[in-house]
């Protein structure tokens, strides 16, 4: 960034990884053997993108099958494998790797570090992901993919009812992915705790880093619960165990408690880093500092704590009794409060700003409204008599997609459009980006808004077909057409990605005039990230450099 006067300063990053003296190799071997957090981050992102394509094709296959009532495009067996793999893929092989990839690439840059704390462990985490994902997909040619749903409820997932090896591949595959996630979480926590540049106190951390930190704590506490239950499931299936086999005295509900003890924090594992990206994008494109930094950060911690106290809201229909339902309803309703605090702070950040509607900002703005819809329908589930009607219907499918697609995926697109210039050194085509956004917004709402209604008029989820009841056919056809539009939007994104990588305008160090440290180095950054760091006396070091007349540190931030 030539216009920023660098102040010579002691290198803020001590050579922590002294063992790693060799330099990165070039060519394909360089990518396979890499321990550079940036390359590993890119590998995570590319893996996520590939599986996003696969999971998206699975979604389109389901929508084709559901376009008409009594359709026979897919057999029930095939449909059930595909919906199971769609959910499992999108959660474990798309959302988590995309967010871990972003964190891997950005966190060391944003905290002025040279790399993550344990570069080799970092590479190991990625390869666990790659091989875990391949292992899971190998099930298709090994006798059939799992068909017990991504939640794999016992006893359906047990040997008597799922006799192919699909569920074994599911359990071992997710176990491997879980190990990778836990290793990555430890790595990021240590990196953020111990490798921050001089002056970057915990209260000055960029909000994305804050939320990544909280997320990694969630991963560290939640994923072991999943791995323990997967082990128990495998003991049942392969060694005649009886944890969840009801015929021999096991408990079907025990699995649900274990699974959701992981599964609900998991929702926030794939949402909080998205919040973090939104918290970077909105201020920069509004040309205003984030409103209520402390409250945005603290509400993240509140959400994380509450996320461990609400698991049984996935179980309102299993017959736990009113008192338990009431307790979990309170916790679930409370989560709405810190989430609302975030939404209002983001809007307050835009208020009085000077907003540049780049593609990134469009996705962030779309996120605000789409995620609000998902959050509000979430409250209707916490009012649990409503859950007694609408859980396991298409109303829930709509809700979760507003949270995970309208929320997480929109935020990831906002983040990708925002950081692509840093990662590639080139600008995205804004024209194609805007077409991508608007097509996505229309297709997304067309697909999922109508699913609220088809659920309310009685359509359960996870059905491979449905009878021709009044209204069902038209609503489902609308949903399918919307899904095709979303497919077109993704195709435009991929095209944009390819042409921009080859022929995009050079980005320069800081095309958006952003304020965090990753923009203080070249695009793409050198292997060691920084030659020199600017002085860090506030949350926005590059703002302070560009605005010496009104630096943040004068306001005590």
């Amino acid at each position: 960034m030539s216009d920023v006067p660098y102040m010579p300063q002691m290198p803020a990053t001590a050579d922590h990884s002294g063992a790693r003296v060799e330099h990165e190799k070039s060519g394909l071997l360089g990518w396979v053997a890499t321990v550079d957090h940036k390359r590993i981050g890119i590998l995570y992102l590319l893996t996520s993108l590939v599986f996003f394509g696969v999971g998206g094709i699975e979604a389109l296959l389901m929508r084709i099958q559901l376009a008409r009532p009594n359709n026979s495009f897919l057999s029930p067996g095939a449909y059930n494998q595909i919906f199971t793999m769609h959910g499992t893929t999108m959660i474990f092989l798309v959302a988590m790797p995309a967010l871990t990839g972003m964190a891997n690439y950005l966190v060391p840059l944003m905290i002025g570090a040279k790399d993550v704390a344990f570069p080799r462990l970092n590479a190991f985490s990625f390869w666990l992901l790659a091989f875990g994902g391949l292992f899971l997909y190998f099930s298709f040619i090994a006798g059939g993919a799992p068909a017990a749903g991504w939640f794999s409820y016992a006893p359906l997932s047990e040997q008597p009812y799922s006799s192919t090896t699909g569920v074994d591949y599911y359990a071992i595959g997710l176990f491997v992915l879980g190990m990778g996630s836990i290793a990555a979480a430890i790595n990021l926590i240590v990196t953020i705790a111990g490798f921050r540049a001089v002056g970057l106190t915990i209260r000055r951390l960029p909000l994305f880093v804050w939320m990544v930190l909280v997320t990694q704590v969630l991963i560290l506490l939640a994923l072991p619960a999943l791995n323990a239950s997967l082990s128990m499931l495998l003991i049942d299936r392969l060694m005649n165990g009886h944890f969840f086999v009801t015929d021999s005295g096991g408990s079907a509900l025990l699995w649900q408690h274990f699974f959701w003890a992981f599964g609900h924090p998991e929702v926030y594992i794939v949402v909080l880093p998205a919040f973090g990206m939104i918290s970077e994008v909105i201020p920069v494109f509004s040309r205003k500092v984030i409103y209520g930094y402390e409250f945005v950060a603290a509400s993240t911690v509140a959400i994380a704590v509450l996320s461990f106290l609400v698991w049984a809201h996935h179980m309102f229909a299993v017959g736990l009794g009113h008192s338990i339902d009431v307790v979990f309803a309170i916790g679930s309703m409370l989560i709405a409060v810190p989430t609302g605090v975030k939404i209002f702070n983001w809007i307050a950040t835009m208020w009085g700003g000077s907003i540049r509607f780049t593609t990134s900002m469009l996705f962030a703005t779309g996120f605000l409204v789409m995620f609000t819809i998902g959050g509000l329908s979430g409250i209707s589930f916490a009012a649990f008599p409503i859950d007694w009607q609408v859980t396991d219907t298409y109303y829930l499918v709509a809700h979760l997609h507003y949270v995970l697609f309208g929320g997480t995926v929109f935020a990831i697109f906002a983040g990708v459009y925002y950081w692509f210039p840093k990662i590639s050194g080139r600008m995205f085509s804004e024209r194609l980006g805007k077409i991508h956004f608007w097509l996505m917004l229309v297709g997304f709402n067309m697909t999922f808004m109508v699913q609220h209604f088809v659920g309310l008029i009685g359509m359960p989820r996870r059905v491979f077909t449905y009878p021709d009841l009044p209204g069902w056919a038209a609503l489902n056809m609308t949903s399918t057409i919307g899904a095709v539009i979303m497919g077109m939007a993704v195709a435009i994104f991929l095209w944009n990605l390819m042409i921009s990588l080859v022929a995009g305008e050079p980005a320069g160090n800081n095309p958006w005039h952003a304020w965090t440290l990753e923009w203080a180095t070249t695009s793409p950054p050198p292997e060691h990230n920084f030659d020199l760091l600017p002085p860090i006396r506030s949350r926005r070091p590059l703002w302070d450099l560009a605005h010496p007349e009104d630096p943040d540190w004068k306001h005590g931030r």
Partner: protein
Amino acid sequence: MQTDSSLLRDSVLAQPISHLFLIVGIVMAAIFLLVTVLVLYVSFRYRDRAANQFPRQEFGRTSLEILWTVGPVLVLVFIFAATIHAMKGADPGFAINQQPDLVIVAHQWWWEARYVESGVIAANEIHLPVGKRLFVRLESADVIHDWWVPQLGRKMDAVPGHPNFLWLEADSPGFYSGTCAEYCGAEHAWMRIGVIAEAEPAFERWAQHQLELPSKVPTGSDAAQGSELFQQLTCGNCHAIAGTSAQGRIGPDLTHIGSRLTLAAGRFQNTPANLDRWLANPQAIKPDSHMPNFQLTDPQVRQLTAYLETLQ
């Protein structure tokens, strides 16, 4: 068959939930409008304003933070109160050791109903006397299923090894369509429920009829040959027909199959032609269902259909 709906037509137990949904829906709509209007307002009002100079940097105001923390809390307290009210109305309590009037057992992929007092055993179509509240015990024979008839109120999981209880009441006569709402394997889609609510006398007549033994089929007819086939072909290992040696309880009781509206848990209408198709190859109609393809010849299918059609 009319549309399923949790909103348009209610029984006395579904109504509290519809009301709650209306209340929560209005609150949700209001908040949604507030957020959307704010987002649109700032988007247009503050778009590319003063491109060359930076707007005033505001770091936040604690009073506003308190406002949008406490405001939602108050809204949630209101929703919580409405929730408790609806819970009591939609799912009334019951005494410990209260005996069920009706036991419903979910199977992959059909429903069995046993009326405790009369001893009637029905499948997939459940008859209720209008205006009378039945206490139901819900069980599962294999995996987790879920009882859901939207117009009659809450859904409830059928969990193996963990019986659940719920009240069932229809306050006007009619056909209520429902379905299994928990994913339960290959044919989850075709595990539909029909509830037929009728006035008490009609219900009593139905129950009486269900208890009658099937009449003897005239010898030498197709039906008589079908009856013999039924016994020879091990159909009775899974199915029961009262008054015969067929006493299987794996599949639906067929004593009065001819009186049902649909076949294979709502897969299609109960007509002789559809019964022919079903018997000829159940796996083509409902793949992976537990009814095997017996490779019957056309005359065998005809004879079995003729026999089953006599079981009115």
